[in-house]
């Protein structure tokens, strides 16, 4: 056992020690959210031979709007079985932020492990309409702007700024889908050429179908542990040496949509600037957003970006960000990477961003 790497942020080393996710699909017709989660939570514990009694805190991320009812997280708790009563909390955000909340608590040393999970079924409704309700309710939502049209505005601005081309966007998609061939959980995986993808019709100019994330039903879970527990449970824990998140203004007209200063800031606080990143898992739901994030993070071309296929291969809303952290950690735990970066996003056009730096020993 080697000691944990020094933490850049926080007072004590906390590691990802287990990660599990569903087989991501377009439509999970026969299982509700609890049934989607149960095998994932079973697996995330079984991976390291622990039970729910070994975690001192549970935190989840989800949104009521997918199911169209209040309190979707309440029923989901049955997938864990919180009896006797547990210390538990929930964020109405991607579960990457639930992981952040658990990481904060672990900093205090009162608990030594936490379960984090996220879930969402995009197939329950019309996601384009649902996400329009995430916009300013007075001046934006009444216009029902759908996420693809908004993303197209951003892609157009990026192309006009000379920072991307339609071909460069297709290259991101082709690479992601090829990488996904090695990911048995991926929903979209193939080895189409860039030319094949460029032959697709526009969905909203300049975005073709390949630039859009798939609609996905899915869930994921992670176990976090302090140094002592981490080495007890796994050989090579993925220590979170830094994590931070930042938000930008919601007013799209007030933002330069071609850059992501909140990502840059979060990465800086998380200690990503020190470099040495082998692998980056980026939560860029639209292909062109990977180009924005690469620039914001200053990632050199040598970094292996989204070896899992990323959100273009599976985009289970509310857990796709947590999955980036899980995938990055999995590379470290498998000994395939030494220093990894994970990114999660929330809100329209990369409004809010979280960056975590993970290191092996």
């Amino acid at each position: 056992m080697s000691p944990a790497p020094p933490v850049h942020r926080g007072s004590r080393p906390v590691a990802v020690v287990s990660f599990a996710q569903t087989q991501h699909v377009r439509r999970e017709a026969n299982r509700n959210e609890v049934e989607l989660l149960m095998p994932v939570i079973k697996e995330v514990f079984a991976n390291i031979g622990i039970t729910k009694d070994d975690v001192g805190f549970i935190c989840s991320g989800s949104t009521d709007y997918l199911v169209g009812g209040p309190f979707s997280f309440v029923a989901a708790l049955d997938a864990v079985g919180v009896w006797p009563p547990r210390r538990e909390s929930h964020v109405e955000m991607d579960a990457a932020w639930a992981l952040f909340e658990a990481w904060v608590l672990l900093q205090e040393g009162e608990i030594d492990a936490a379960l984090v999970y996220g879930f969402g079924k995009s197939s329950m409704g019309d996601l384009a309409k649902i996400l329009a309700l995430q916009l300013d309710p007075y001046v934006m939502a009444p216009l029902w702007p759908d996420p693809v049209s908004l993303a197209a505005l951003q892609a157009r601005a990026l192309i006009d700024a000379g920072k991307a081309s339609e071909r460069a966007i297709a290259e991101v998609a082709a690479r992601s889908r090829r990488s996904a061939l090695a990911n048995p959980k991926a929903q979209v995986a193939d080895d189409w050429s860039v030319d094949d993808l460029m032959a697709e019709e526009y969905v909203v100019n300049p975005l073709r179908r390949h630039a859009l994330p798939p609609l996905t039903d899915g869930a994921a879970a992670v176990v976090l542990a302090t140094e002592e527990r981490a080495f007890e449970w796994v050989e090579r824990p993925a220590f979170i040496t830094g994590i931070d998140h930042r938000v930008e203004t919601h007013a799209l007209g007030a933002r330069d949509l071609t850059v992501s200063p909140s990502t840059t800031k979060a990465a800086s606080v998380a200690g990503a600037a020190a470099g040495g990143i082998d692998v980056a898992e980026l939560h860029a739901p639209f292909a062109h957003q990977e180009l924005i994030l690469r620039e914001a993070l200053g990632l050199p071309d040598s970094v292996d970006v989204n070896p899992s296929g990323g959100p273009l291969a599976a985009n289970p809303i509310m857990s796709a960000g947590l999955i980036r952290i899980g995938e990055a950690a999995a590379r470290i735990m498998a000994g395939e990477a030494t220093r990894a970066l994970a990114h999660a996003t929330s809100g329209p056009l990369l409004q809010q961003n979280l960056v975590a730096v993970l290191e092996g020993t």
Partner: protein, 390 residues
């Protein structure tokens, strides 16, 4: 708790059925600005924001914290959104406090709100879900059978609920922010009011309110600076805890839920509280339907099981002569901006500990309990504040 944490700023809106004079952003900004003013701070002094509210369908805005980032001065900063059902106002304050006790931040703004007039909470709570028991008549319909079970179990006489309804509304008359100011409240008025969900009468239930609450939480160093600058003393966090249990399973005790008892035991152990009735000078407890006062008196260990109604009946929880005043602000029965209702409990005890509660201040408060609950009596959040540093 690794580092100390204190409340140094408190702000709330006037709570009304319809705050048509402000947008959602205007509502939260009003409370947050007051909290900052109280702390003697500006927006720039805040390191991070934690916001909470009950289900998004209550306003019809999905994840409204995204739209509110600007109004809350969060641009360029971290912002988190908590949702733990009715307990959310308390949970939000606890998540924010951990940003301080973990040593991560010096000054954190925490905000909770509900603008119920923008939508219809009763409808939002009653959307039929596959494979789930329908709630139908909103929260009252869910809780009425639990109250009946309490009455049967404890043998409480039927007037107890009405006593709570009168007491909390009399308290509210001393709180200028309270939604309900019912100057002519009386046992007769309550008894004559329409029966909504037997045994809950109209005047034994909480109103639907628009409102927001905000607090500035600070590290020991930042609290010292604020006290020196404003002359107002901080309210120190001596303990905080959260517990959850499932909505239903065979044998679950919803009248006296174990999650509430466990949460209280945890927070009391942290704060060194052994005899809650003696050790606390005041408490703000989430009582949305009158009968929940005696039920929570028992759940929180202020008396033995079955005796809660006796404390209410003898006036122990009244500001006027009671030894353990509960809900001097008027409580949830007088103001209920749902997502903020839990934070108002946490905030009101901060006011009491700081000696800033105005007309509803209890003399000589040294230590106080704030409690919030939610879901089907299954989510609990509590904190203990005191005058002395822990």
């Amino acid at each position: 708790m690794a580092e100390r944490c204190a409340v140094i700023g408190v702000g709330q809106t006037v709570h009304r059925s319809k705050r048509e004079d402000v947008s959602i952003a205007g509502l939260v900004r009003e409370a947050a600005q007051r909290a900052l003013d109280d702390a003697g701070l500006g927006w720039r002094d805040i390191d991070a924001v934690v916001i909470g509210k009950a289900p998004d369908m209550f306003e019809g805005v999905m994840m409204p914290e995204l739209y509110l980032a600007g109004a809350l001065g969060a641009v360029g900063k971290p912002i988190m959104r908590v949702h733990t059902a009715g307990s959310v106002g308390g949970s939000t304050a606890i998540v924010a406090a951990h940003l301080v006790t973990s040593g991560l931040h010096q000054r954190v703004l925490t905000v909770a709100f509900e603008k119920q007039s923008d939508s219809d909470a009763m409808w939002a709570l009653s959307v039929p879900q596959p494979f789930a028991a329908p709630l139908l008549a909103g929260a009252g319909g869910y809780f009425a059978p639990i109250i009946r079970a309490y009455i049967r179990r404890s043998g409480a006489p039927s007037h107890i609920g009405m006593e709570v309804a009168v007491k909390d509304r009399l308290h509210a008359l001393r709180n200028p922010y309270a939604h309900l100011h019912l100057a002519d409240i009386s046992m007769e008025k309550v008894e004559e009011s329409v029966m909504l969900w037997d045994p809950i009468r109209y005047l034994e239930t909480c109103p639907s309110s628009d409102g927001a609450a905000a607090m500035v939480l600070a590290s020991e160093r930042a609290a010292g600076e604020a006290e020196a600058a404003t002359g107002r003393r901080p309210a120190w966090v001596h303990g905080m805890a959260m517990r959850s249990e499932p909505t239903m399973f065979a044998g679950r005790d919803q009248v006296n839920p174990r999650a509430g008892k466990d949460c209280a035991a945890d927070v009391y152990a942290q704060a060194g509280v052994e005899r809650p009735r003696q050790d606390f000078d005041v408490a703000e407890v989430y009582v949305p339907f009158s009968w929940f006062e005696p039920m929570w008196l028992e759940n929180l260990g202020f008396c033995d099981e079955g005796d809660g109604w006796k404390l209410t009946d003898e006036g122990a929880t009244s500001m006027d002569g009671g030894d353990i005043p509960w809900n001097c602000s008027g409580g949830v029965l007088s103001s209920n901006p749902i997502g903020a209702s839990g934070m108002l409990r946490f905030l009101e005890v901060a006011l009491q500990v700081r000696g800033e509660a105005g007309e509803h201040q209890v003399d000589g408060v040294r230590r106080a309990l704030g409690q919030a609950y939610g879901g089907g009596s299954q989510f609990f959040a509590m904190w203990v504040l005191a005058v002395d540093k822990p």
